[in-house]
Every structure is written in C-alpha cells, then in structure tokens.
Symmetry: D2
Subunit: 283 residues, 4 copies
C-alpha cells in the first residue's frame, strides 16, 4: 500500500451534521487493475505499452472486470433514511449496527436551515432549488430537533420499563443515525457513485458519495480520471436524439489532427470519428 493511501486510513471525513466516512482498508490500486487486465489479455497487451492508456481503454470499452479487482472497505455513520437508499446497492458487503443487540444512540440528523426547501415542482422526487422563508425554515428545524429529543426520551423510558430493545426502537425516527462497515469493489463503487453523486440523488446521500469520491480519487487516480471522462461527465444520446444531432451537425467531419487539442488522439480519436460516422452522419 502506498504511503499516501496509508495516510488516508482511519481518518473521519465529516458528512452532514453528525455522520462520517472513514476508509478502513483498500486492496489494490491502479496497478492492480493493469495487472488483472494483463492476465486476461496475455500477450495481447504487449502493444499497449502504457498503463494509463490501458486503464482508459478498459473503462471506455466496458471491460469492467479488472476494476472489480480493487476493493474498498469503509466505516460509515449515516441517518437511517440514507441507509435505506444505500442498501439497495446489493453488490457490497455490510455489517450494520444492530438495534436489537445494542441501544441506539442519541444522534439524529437535523438538516441545516438552508437545506429546508420546498417540494420541487419539476422533480416529483426532490426538493426545489428555492429557499423556504427563513422564519419557516428555522421553525421547522427547531421542531425537528424537539421531536427527536422527545422520541429519544420516550425510547429511554421504554428501555427503563425493560421493554425489549427490538421493540423499544420501533418509534425511533428515520433521522436516527446508524453505522456500518461497507465493502465494495471499484467497479460497483463507480456504479454507486455515478448514481449517488448525480444531482437527482437526494442531497443527504450525495454528501456521502462526494466524500467517498475524494478518497477513491487518491487511491486510484488514473481510474478515477477515466471514470470522470468516460462515465461521470459523459452523456448518452438516444436513437432519436442522435437523429436530431445528425440533422444539425455540419456535413464535414473534423480532421483527426484537429481533435488533439480536445485531448483525443490515436485510437481514441479514430474511435470518435467512427462513432460520428456511424451515428451522426446524415445518410
């Protein structure tokens, strides 16, 4: 393990008001991706002389299995409603704190005043970009805190009655913090991040996605850059959308040489021109 990665281990990155992400362990790095790919391609990779080029080629062409050879383990503290979205990603290993075995802690997520936002009118599943009137937002935050305090008092009182923990907790709210160890390979982590860093993801899970992204970027910098270029900042156009683009694009394709200033050269430039010929040329 490289020293800069070792230095990341165990450090808490704060998320929301009381949560965190901690990198616990890592197996592999950019080299491990290359190493696995070279097993697959054997002598076939001789010509790809550069590791960076190989990693980018793999991701561009959906040869995703070498990315599964890198594994991350995180310790995460998060509100239960975030945990409920998170757990839908099934290709990961999880050990969560158990409210049957142990007492839930007196820690609840209270949104910052500026996150108290109205229902979006365009996005049925999200909040608006607009703010609430400040006095309403402040009142809501106070009210939430008050409710959480009451619910935790009630929880304690039920435990005081000696009610079984597995029952005493059922009226605790979804804002209560839980924690877990979460282990996942890089391919599936990229998939998670693509969906959860997205602006349509709920803000509260996006914060965790961005914290993990910061860590991943330092562990596998080359793979991360490829992920940004080919996935995170890429865009897909449907069959019909391609037809629209074809109808407005100029007839002449750019020269291969002119693509270099956009960062496209060699095989990647040729692949681009081929794609344009295939999908964006008026027939």
């Amino acid at each position: 393990m490289q020293d800069n990665v070792r230095d990341l281990l165990g450090k808490e990155i704060s998320c929301l008001d009381k949560g965190f992400v901690r990198l616990i362990d890592v197996m592999g790095d950019d080299d491990a991706i290359v190493q696995a790919a070279r097993v697959s391609y054997g002598e076939g990779t001789k010509r790809v002389t550069e590791d960076r080029g190989l990693i980018r080629y793999l991701l561009r062409h959906l040869h995703t299995t070498p990315f599964e050879m890198v594994e991350f383990k995180f310790h995460i503290k998060l509100p239960i409603f975030v945990a409920r979205q998170w757990i839908r990603h099934r290709t990961a290993n999880v050990n969560e704190y158990s409210g049957r075995y142990s007492e839930m802690k007196d820690e609840f997520y209270v949104p910052a005043v500026e996150q108290i936002r109205p229902q979006s009118v365009t996005n049925k599943q999200g909040r608006s970009e607009q703010a609430m009137p400040p006095d309403v937002a402040s009142r809501i935050v106070s009210q939430m805190e008050e409710t959480q305090r009451e619910l935790y008092d009630e929880y304690q009182s039920l435990l005081g009655d000696n009610l079984a923990r597995e029952l005493a907790r059922i009226n605790l709210p979804l804002s209560n913090y839980t924690e877990w160890y979460w282990k996942i390979d890089l391919h599936n982590l990229f998939h998670f991040l693509r969906l959860r860093i997205d602006p349509h993801a709920q803000y509260e899970i996006r914060v965790y996605g961005e914290a993990m992204a910061e860590l991943v970027k330092q562990v596998v910098p080359i793979a991360w850059e490829a992920f940004e270029d080919y996935i995170l900042h890429s865009t897909k156009f449907s069959r019909n959308e391609l037809a629209v683009l074809a109808s407005i694009l100029p007839a002449d394709l750019p020269e291969e040489a002119s693509l270099e200033k956009f960062g496209l050269k060699g095989r990647e430039a040729r692949e681009f021109l081929e794609k344009v010929r295939l999908h964006l040329q008026r027939s």
Copy 2:
C-alpha cells in the same frame, strides 16, 4: 399454472396488525425442478424413476441449482424496521414504495399487548418469553399509538408547509408501514425462510416468513416437504459434538431394515448408516 396455485394469486394474507403478503405470480412448480435437474443429469437420471425421490435427493445433497428455476413474486406490506432486516437478503428483486415520490400513509405497526415483552436475559438480541405486567404493557401500547399519531400529524403539517417530501418524512418512525414487490427464486427463498422462521428471528419478521411458507407449501409441496425434512427440522452437530454423541451411542448400529419405520429406506438409509459409521463410531 395449476388451478390451486392460480387460486392463491392476489389474495392477501394478513400479517401483524396492518400488513399483508400477497402472492403475485409464480414461475414453475415441483415439475420445473425435476425438468431442470434432468437437463443437468441427462441420461444420468434414468435410474431415478420417481420425481419425489429426485427432488429429495437434490436437496439432501445440496444440488441447489434446480431449485433456482422456480421463481416467486410477492406483494408485501410491512413496517420499515422489518423491511430493514428483510432487505439484507440481497439475492432478490425489489420495488419499494418511495417516500420521496409519494406521501407516506397513516399506518403504523402497534404491537399486540401480548407481544409487549421484556428484554430477554439469555438472548441479547430478543425479547423474553415472559409477559410484562398487563398494565405496563397496555400503557406502552397506548403510548406508542399516541406517538405515532403525533408524528403523522407533524408529517402532515410539514407537507402543509410545502417542505419537500424527502425531508418531511425523516422523523417518521420505523414502525411506519411501507410496501414492496419482492421476487426471489426458491433456493434463496428457502434460505430466507430458514433464517426468518427460526425462533431467533424477531417475531415481527417471523410472521411474514410463516405466511410465505404457507404459500410456498402449496406451490411446491414436494420440495417443501424435503425442505422441512432436510433443512428446517434438521440439526447440525460440530466436530466436538459428534465426538460426544459417539461416546454415548451404543456400539451396534441399527440394521438397515429397522430404519424403514423412521421413513429411511434404500439409498437414504444407506447414506445415514454411512454417515453414522464415519462420524459417530468410536474408533
């Protein structure tokens, strides 16, 4: 699909106070298990002339893939804290009601008075077999209902303030009901049921396990019987435990013929005697 299975479809089986299990669709039956196994074994299965024998042989010997060829789809309404345990079974397909898109409903799980039980002293994760004093139990139930009413009122009031649904819901309690479609193959369903029908599972998820068991039993009666015999009502002994049993068992093994009255004959009887010879004979 057999008529008796078709008759099961869509019917709600009540679970807890407001939940249910509904069988939505099924692919396959006992025959489908046999059919898949015969592809695997080809001519090799000629000698196993009886389907029941084949199904039992498969399950006894952990040849589990033919059981994956049967698929169940359920519609389930359940409290969120039960959903959180349930979702840990990753080998299933799920579509859950979304509190970001839609309003959560005014339905909460209130334990029956007789389920209000103290923390178990022997089982750190469960409730005792003992009852609470009846007045305490009644008071707890009333208090839970009262809290749920207040929390739903507050939720409605936050929606009235036009707070985004994804935020308004965060102080709703884990006792709130959600619902989902859940699809799983028979092999993984057996695994789920084995763990969730078990007396160590929390009572509230066991109720759902038992409701599904009733349905499964009618769809694949032969496989179900094998599951009961070889898994649900089987017991495993560790290396050391086998040594204890070996030390107290009589030296003489029973005759093969004498096993028939216990339901063991032919190949299964011989397998048993072989197991005893291997693991339970004093050397």
Copy 3:
C-alpha cells in the same frame, strides 16, 4: 400469459449448425413492469397516464428495478466455447448438462465456410470482415470435422475402457455442444443482449443473442422498443468528445416544436434540450 407468448413456448429456434434456443417459461410482461413501478411511485405516478410513457421513462432514467420483475427461462444448446463466454454473466440461474454424470453427445460446432475468416488486423480479439481463399476455408472446415470425429471416437474408446466419464471427456474439444437451462430477469437480460448483440461480440454468441432478442421482443414489445431507442441504438460521448461536438454544433438550438418529427416531444424533448444546453453549448 398472453396467447402469443404461450405459442412461443417450447419452440426451438435454430442457432449455428446444431444449437438452439427454446423459451421455456416467462413470468410477467410489459404490464408487470408498470405494475411494479406503480408500487414504487405510489400516488406519484398518477400523472403518467400512459403505460408506454412510463416504461420509456423508467428505462431512460435508469430506474431499472421494475425490469427485474420480468423473468425468462430458456433451454439452450450451445458449443462449450460459447458457454464459457456466456457464463461470465453471473446474475442468472443455470443448470448445465454434466459430463461427469452423463455421456457427452456426438455433436460439435463446425463453422460455415463463410465464417472461416482471418484474424482481424484492427480488432485483436476478432475475425476480419474479409473472407479466406475458398479452398483454404473448405480445407479448414473438413479438417475440423475430421478432428472432431477422431476425438469423439477416442472418447468412446476411453469409455469402452471403462475410464470414468469425468476423465474420458477431458480431451473433448471446446466445439462440443452442451446444453443448459438459463433463467434471468429482463434487466440483466438487456445487459447481456447489449454486450452480446454488439458487433464486437464473437459471431457465435451473437447468433444466440439475436435469437433471444426475437423472443424478448414478442414478450415485452414496449420495453424492447425502449431498449432499442435508449440503449441498443444510443451512443455515449465522453467529456472530451462532447467538447468536440460542442465546437462544431451551430450556436442555435432547434426549437422544441421541431423535434417532434424526430419522435421527441413533451418531457423527452425538454430533457434533450436540457442535455444539449448542459453538455453541447459553447460556453
């Protein structure tokens, strides 16, 4: 199950020289996708009045879980080297013919003369579009058949020596046919088809992909059309490629009204214009 689907069941679709795909069973159809989505979105879906629109919306926005609610079961006969590529798709259930239990059959894949092609010079993993000289191609085909005949004779002779089947088979070639039951949900089947219908996939697996595509199209026609529009015939552009496109696109965006003749209207047209504004506008 609709009548037209029931009529598909059990029919062999020939693949390669001796293989086939048979649809054995299906759970669900386009309606089942809608039904599952409506559980997720609850009241939230009231506004999407049309099922087709909902299915297309789901696929366009990667809401893939409702597609997991449809399940296909196929019986497939295929050469072992195709089976080896196929099995890499892990999210499926498989029962394969076993060469340990049963005798392998005297059936081998012999490529058609026109498939006997040179190594591609541009694609390290594939064959060229060019033909071989006809006499060379014919000679190769004959030689392959001859070798297969000899290997099967030798297999029979080893079985004649009473060598265990699990050993006698080890010199059988990868061209030997095997068969299996293969069960998969629609979301994962789409993923399989996207990769295996692709021109970069080996011809021999593509043939199977196309045979299954024909079946899927008839079972879930609306989902299939969405899959073609948004996935199969879509194209992704990387961050750098988008920059090139932005540099050559005219400054003026098309009007929303003008998009209708390309099949884009309403929400989908607005989403397209938003995407263009975000990714293809010169800043």
Copy 4:
C-alpha cells in the same frame, strides 16, 4: 498485513501437473472479522471478551457477514474443465486469460497414472477407488498426451493459415490450461471450499481447494479452525435421522461438566445440551 502473510504472497503452490495457486493479495485477517462484528453488535459485544470466542460464536450461529469483510485474491492456473466447474461459484470476481486476444499455450493436463480410474459404480458422477490395470492406465496416459500434441499442432497450423484466434481454438480440448485472477470474500470462499474439498468433488478441483485451504489457514487461523469444527467436520442429520438417533441414544444426557473433555464448555456446552434435548430426546 502480518509478516507471515506477506511471506505467502506471490509464491506458487503447484497443483496437478502444470497448474498452480498463488496468493496475490489479502484484505483483512481474524481481527478484521472481529472489528466488523463489533460494529454490528456495538455495546452488545462487551461481554464477549475474547476474540476467538466471538469468531467461533459468529460462525456457529450463521452470522456470516463479518466473514465477508476479509477478501482474498488468487492467481490460478488450471485446466479448462476445472475452470468450468469453478466458475459456477458466482460470488467472485474473475479475469481470465482470453483465447480471443492471445494464443493459447501448449500446456495440457495429463492425469497421473494412478488417477486413471474406472467409472465408479456407486457414484454416478465420479471415479472408482479402484485402479485400472497398470498397462491400460499407461496406455491411456500416452494416448491422451499424443492427442494433446496433435491438437496443439493443428491449432498452430490453423494460426499459420491466419485463421482468427477465436476460431482456431475451438478444437482445443478441455484439458488445455487457462489462468485467471480470482477474488472472493472469506464467507463465499468457505462455501467454495466446503463443496470443493468434499470427497464428492472431482479430484482435479479438490487439489486446488486444498492448496487454497493451506493459504487461508495461515491468513485467518482462528476463523479456519472454526470453519473446520462447525462446518467442514460437522454433520447434519435430517428430521428422520434425528428420530433414529433419538431411538438409540441412552435416556440420560451427559452432564455439562463431562463435555469439557470434548472441547465443549460454557455457552457452547449449554447450546449442545439444548439441541440434544430438543432433537434427540425421546418424547
């Protein structure tokens, strides 16, 4: 990583005549299992003061998720027919050498003379314990080698004709060696080993299972011992088999104190007596 584990990395353990297992990387050890479990159980684990006891408790009670927190990566060289059995374990990550990209190597599995055995008469899927007549076995071995030589010559000749690699290889035999990187978590590796170390597994895959077992034992010695005690050397008895045992066991149970000489004490001894009372007592 502990020094003794670091010393294991990269070393080839020979398997069969030309294969090997090499441990490439490991994430975690016995401590990592404990660490993950303590997150789950929180304060609930205070009373389990000893790590060994906790690991054994977890495995005994099927609390398997902490074992998923340890990850192994192997480099393996193996005959294709072994790879075909191996790959059926789906919960692993794989990068295999590709015969489309690269030339297959001139390496084939030739069974040792003593492994050339007749078909078993009792076990339809395996070889007998008996030997073949030595001259027959020797002749079979020579014949196999001869065939492999011819097939590789033919492969080379097809490549010489410039036939695409993806086609030239189709008559290579299942005895041809391939290699892969294979990454799996400890829980799933235990499952693999349980099935593949078993005497019913084909000898050629058992050899690999045993090589990996040697490595695993050194990386997680406490978990391995628990695996041996509670899984590998445990035995399960069905409902009917338990009835037989109950009928022949003496009426008196052993005293708890007397169990200590069998390695059972404290909670584990009480669990055993409880199991016996429940399943092996005549009613």
